[in-house]
Symmetry: D2
């Protein structure tokens, strides 16, 4: 590992928690060269909803590369882009009554957010954007301004402007988006009328905070009433993570813009999309650009993933059902520690176990020694976050939960 | 094509110039399904220095994917990351006497720039960054602020702050970085001492403007004298585009930070690196993050490309020699139009033919009908930009130049 | 009046409500040349707490000017400056246990606020400032950013940055500064730790919103706990307007900085002061400047006013007592309109009658025709604001209240 | 003096250079209580063009106050305001063919600048403002952003945005506003099209840098050509300081906006005006406000000064003639020190003697011990700045120059 220590920047992070060198990956497992393997309840921070190197997608990808399909093409027309658009419309958008236009904003989630913010400001001629406490939207300067995470904000090196935080559902003592409603209604509030509100329906990085459908509906109503654009950042919670393809479907709302990335490419290759209602598609040609807007291999795996998993509702139903099962299992896991009053929360296959600052790190470390990768989340890293592949088997889910239970018990005993 | 017209955002750009659907690509050529092909003097805006689907890299990529190598891994340790770091140090950094640390800032060039700017501001505690007229550094908010291109700036939707433009070598009537020198020397200039200066040695998007080695050295001296960090954005001009691996090698300067992307991945897959002098590597773990910092297939192709092309100086020599040949050929091409006084300029295998606003578009369109893809550049799109793969054969270069000559002649005759 | 209409900018405001040309002023009355006069319950927006051309101050002023006392002296030492400092310390600061240093920030209240904000940011190295909904702190760019009034904010012509609004006492459904407390306590709130909180204890422009002493104490505690500076803008509520010299005295808090202007000069001449705790007085000589920091005639009237009115507690007691009387009188005035549920509020001699948008303007207009000047306030100009000179006689107060009662009745009858 | 040292903020500045307590002032002299007096070649930083306590103005002021003329009136109509407007139009604007509207922006110069910037941005919908190296426009946040002085900029405590500095006439190696011309002409320059250019025709604080009439005309042409508003900050150079009432008259240009303050009030009382071409007067009533927009005693002295000094061209001619005399006298003063190559420069009665950093302070100190107040200026305080009252007698001018000559000689001898 000395090559990493000597030559990689100090900024590296996950490799400190999991100091082994992975070489191969299949399904729900990562393997090292010496034959050890870990069950992965992290799933590329939500980028691997279909597991590592999913064989269906892998087949499509190998065929495409083997046949010299176009790899890199900026925003030129390609067969792979055509097929992705067609499949996205047919499998995802039309069945949900959405007629959004598709922007290819660049390779990562931050690009999807930056494009949405730029476009929202251009459309409205306003500069302010409302975001939520404990939000995370990316590390580029525009996305960072609407992010709550303090370590990331500080690393900007400049004051972050054009963004005002308001309480997420249930945070800062607020229910309903009442506080925002009052700010918007009061002309003297000091909040300039915003271009947009950007929201994650489940704040995964922020600690697996789940917005209720009522809250989301009220938020959407509020935006409509004040002619403020509603941007749903579905980068981590979308692509089926909570059950339905879009995390906001149960709320019955139609966002003005939707940001997708992480699992939209299916295979872990960089891809991001910004969906925008057609009447808001006001950019002139070339107004937003970027070199990696045409990662065609990711188009291919994205198309294969949509075709394989979203032409029927099997995955959605499975995720919902197993989500309930995990929610119950987590209750069982915390029950012996009832004195500690540990909350659990989640939707579909994203769940959080709130064990406290410092403790969550210990639980994750214990899990690692027992063969499970789990991340921590929340403003104080106080939450153990479970993010298994949607394609994990029931046995794998059970195995991961068992390790989690042991890890929590080990930490509890040590600190008792 | 109706799927694109109906469902893709109006912001799409290159597909308007080249309204065909490409399906396959090999070496210096792009192919459509109906069997037509185009010689590619655009090369993914500099991302395909080794040609489309380079067979050496393709083999490595297929093997890696076929063997279930890790695809997505954030900044976890992987074998592919190890090999890339090792090869980069051995083949690129050490031979050039560089001991920079490697930041994996995210998948695209804008990420490399955003990371450099954030880090420079954090290190110095200053907010201002100096950039150059006609610069292009990316479309995310931080990178956009140091970009000159007006269409991109406008699309931000908010005032861009923290950046001051000064004249690039030979622009705005200035030679030597004299103007910047005076601003820095005058405490009453109104330019707050900047955190950094960010520069492209060849402004490819800005119109193929080439900084002289003297100017670069004077700029580096100036930065050192005023304790301002020097960031070279080598995203388009690096990776051998001008001959040597880094475009600044002939100037003999050592930038504090170097941004790489585009061809560093070799195969057109998203990858970006920010190199930083070790004493400036001050970020805490996790201070900068992003989901697609570990695109391992791109690590594999990057490693293969470095090994195949940079263990000796054959490619560098070839690029230098052919660069001179193209420079002469362009002189021959413009000679019949001497009355128009058309400048040509370039270094290595990036060249520009300055034909004027509107005219450059016509030349590019004529070239397309004749089987050649060339882009336009410059603040008024007044330059035809040649960016062939470094691996193009001499015959391909000659073919492309012949088409260019015909295209220019056709436009000249039409407008005569 | 045509000279005004032809040559003065359209931005003029009060002259539209009161379209007469005043020539002389005495005590609580303004007079026109043709002999008409108006009772003034506006008092220069709080600048004339001691009435128009108060004879005690007038005598001192005429003597000073007659004897060629220094008029203009930037921040040079003068006898008048000496006397003001001595009197301020002896009469105001020392008796209240305050050891603040005195900054002469420029001639107006906005200067006092700008100086406080600049200094707070310099001291802390932070950029963000928290202000309150419905705040008003001035029309220069720094002061405007912490102002809630929407018409003023819009006129900036640029996005206002570095400021976050939170709910004032009782506003936006919040009591106690609970919301701010939560934002500060949550590291992921998205609110960067602020340099300062700036607050008016009574938001006069904002609609005569009165902060409770409990709220102010909790706010001061919160600031201390998070090492955030507390700035009290006492420009309109200070100088005895609410009873005690400083409006925050009853709350028993000690602000880090205090902004004074309006009535501190006593006679309506421009003067402003920023008081700062001695350990925070970190500016180097000359770091903040301005031409009119030494308006010596205003020093003279300020000194005379402090000597005449603040060496004992007579004025304070009178203001408190008459404040209660007015509060009761306003209750009597609204009682006949009980169906409308009109709130009244205030402290000392600043009171508001909340009659609603549009209605307040009508009441003020009716009052004008009956010989009384009263202004409207609040984000929708929904409040009739009473701000009589502290030196108004009981008879004048009664007269003004009677006109107000008639005016309200007239409007009520007309709209009934 | 202990009262100052104990209770006034460390930020005080002029009192350090001149550590005596002034009590009275007449004409060109300031007096202390113990009977000493100083000849004043500082004149309130240009606020006392008509001398201290000018008897004509004093008479008008005493009468006005004695008769209970309105003192404070925000922007209400008053007789004094009427008379000032009428006189300004009749004596100043109409004779010069100007039809600008008058904004009363607040009591000081920074208010005039803030109002101009806010209005320019509102009119154009653009945020960027171009200013010049070594400029000084005020200490409030908006004015500070267009100021070059580094100590003042630093004291903001936040990055200053929305402003780009370009070289003043003859500075940074530039003649003609060629550099700005090129930035504006190049769409890729990175300078967003500005709302306005703000310029001082003589940078007094910046070191008595004098723009040529040719440069000013070229600048005005450039602004017109690019539809950028031209704001002349005539706060220090206006009101006859350079000879004509406005400093730009000789250049024959018509600025879109003109900022006046300092000597416009005549007597050293705070007053500022922003003049704006009528078609640009787009603000809604009340869009810009401030408590001290109606300092009626200053209206009275302003009216008296305009009437006394600007109904004929005697003062203008005198200032021009004596300016040439001083220019020659300064040449005589520096001649004995020819080896040092000391430049002198100026127009009318503002002159600078460039003696170098540190030396200028010594010369000013020597002058003080000899009975003369002179200030230093320039980004390094390297210039001795002469700013006598326009009403100084020839004998006083000669006396001041003699002291200056002695002071320079004393410093030269000491350092030889």
């Amino acid at each position: 590992m000395s090559i990493f220590e000597q030559h990689e920047s100090n900024v590296r992070s996950y490799s400190r928690r999991w100091p082994v060198v992975f070489s191969r990956a299949t399904g729900s497992r990562l393997h090292t060269e010496d034959g050890r393997s870990w069950l992965d309840f992290f799933a590329g921070a939500g980028s691997l909803n279909y597991g590592h190197n999913n064989p269906v997608l892998k087949r499509a990808l190998l065929d495409y590369i083997g046949n010299d399909g176009v790899t890199h093409a900026l925003d030129m027309f390609t067969t792979a882009r055509h097929d992705l658009l067609e499949t996205l419309v047919e499998v995802v958008l039309q069945p949900r009554g959405l007629d959004h236009k598709v922007i290819f904003p660049g390779p990562g989630g931050a690009n999807a957010v930056e494009a949405a913010l730029k476009l929202a400001r251009t459309i409205t001629g306003r500069s302010e954007v409302v975001h939520f406490t404990n939000s995370f939207h990316g590390a580029t300067l525009g996305a960072l301004a609407v992010t709550g995470n303090p370590a990331h904000r500080r690393s900007a090196g400049v004051p972050l402007t054009g963004a005002t935080p308001v309480p997420f559902d249930g945070q800062e003592g607020q229910s309903r988006p009442e506080y925002l409603a009052r700010l918007l209604a009061n002309p003297g509030s000091g909040l300039d009328r915003p271009a947009a509100v950007i929201v994650e329906t489940v704040q995964a990085e922020g600690g697996v905070n789940v917005a209720s459908t009522e809250w989301l509906r009220a938020l959407a109503d509020l935006c409509r009433q004040h002619e403020v654009l509603l941007i749903v950042d579905d980068i981590q919670a979308g692509c089926g993570r909570t059950g339905p393809f879009f995390s906001f479907e149960d709320a019955g709302i139609v966002p003005d813009m939707i940001c997708l990335s992480k699992s939209i490419g299916g295979y872990g290759l960089p891809l991001a999309l910004t969906l925008v209602r057609p009447e808001l598609d006001v950019w002139r040609p070339g107004a937003h650009s970027g070199t990696f807007r045409g990662v065609n291999p990711a188009f291919v795996t994205a198309t294969a993933a949509l075709s394989a998993y979203w032409r029927d509702d099997a995955l959605e139903k499975s995720t919902r059902a197993r989500g309930e099962w995990i929610a119950n299992a987590l209750q069982d896991i915390v029950r012996p520690h009832a004195g500690l009053g540990l909350p659990t929360r989640g939707r579909g296959l994203v769940h959080g176990l709130v064990v406290g600052e410092g403790v969550a790190d210990q639980v994750a470390d214990e899990a690692f020694t027992r063969g499970l990768l789990v991340e921590t989340a929340g403003p104080r890293d106080e939450v153990v976050k479970l993010l298994p592949p949607l394609t994990a088997s029931d046995a794998e889910l059970a195995e991961g939960l068992a390790i989690l239970e042991q890890s929590l018990r080990a930490v509890a005993e040590r600190t008792a």
